[in-house]
Symmetry: D2
């Protein structure tokens, strides 16, 4: 894990300890909280068009940043609780995606996205 | 942003360029994809008890790591597209939470979590 | 509740009893399952434009119908477990929305949607 | 579709027409709104234990009912926009689930839930 993510992990761990909140922080609950925050993030975009979402006014951008922060904070707490290194996992997934979506076959097509 | 998150951002940007996928990567769509992956992450926990979620078998832990990776990859792409530094945003939110939930009032209580 | 929703509620209750699954069906878990299914529903749309989503091919429409079914099944189980009548609740919410979004002020504006 | 769901569908359709909101109600956007509401529903449970979720105080139960209503309202609008009968789809899915999870094999086991 990087220094910054590791710092946040330590701060979050202390934050929960100080408030005796570890009892609520089972991985199950942290995963729920993460989804809830991801929903709050999506809410800012739900009635916008793609174009509008590419041209957010500053206030909206700030609101989205706050929700993105919430998602990251829960992601760090969840992976930390499970002994997962999120950067390592992300790098591994990216390599897998490069194999799953070879450039010559995937170029410009949303069909690859739709193959489930 | 940290070096590792920045590296991932650059790799993801190139990954999308190589496949001509930027057309699909509006912030609106990236926020949707993030929620979808967060749901796949939660799915691993939906029938488990809190205790079971604190004692995952290795295969389950690996599956959760892969979904956490997906969430992080979309979070990086979304914040990158909007010019948001996720680490900075997370640090700011943590400071805000420290003011919102003072130790002396928040200790041990889930009520603070329930005050909406 | 209507006859059809009530029938489904009874069938779902028997389905769970037959398999000894009520132990997993706490309202907490049912709410999680509902979100997971809602994510699977959204997944079908995540890379589509608004226009494409208004013109789904039959296979895609069938896939969406199956996910909508999953969402409804969990919604029925959750409200049933909590003694909530979903039709009554929906009618009440619609009345509330009529007061929250008076026609003369809400007409044509997405701003009402964005006022949080 | 049942009379009650059909009534709600007609009322929702008129509600949107009156406010010139059909422009925002692409199936893509409705699916996003549904997920957002499902997240707000889950939020009421995220720090509760299974047992606590089976014994909600009346105020919490009312709050959950309002969110369940929101989910149902968007589900009706989405299925209506796509010409899907949600009751028919739910009945079909339930039959499929009876085949997928035969009583003799599925009884008492969460493993069937975990087979993805």
């Amino acid at each position: 894990m990087t220094d910054s993510l590791h710092d946040l992990a330590l701060q979050l761990d202390q934050f929960a300890k100080d408030r005796d909140w570890q009892q609520f922080h089972s991985p199950k609950n942290l995963a729920s909280a993460l989804v809830v925050e991801a929903g709050e993030l999506l809410e800012h975009f739900q009635w916008l068009t793609d174009e509008q979402s590419r041209a957010l006014v500053p206030e909206k951008r700030e609101a989205v940043a706050a929700e993105a922060a919430d998602v990251l904070l829960y992601l760090i707490q969840l992976t930390s609780a499970l002994g997962i290194d999120p950067i390592e996992a992300a790098q591994a997934k990216l390599k897998l995606n490069e194999l799953k979506y070879p450039v010559d076959r995937a170029r410009g097509s949303s069909k690859k996205y739709d193959e489930l």
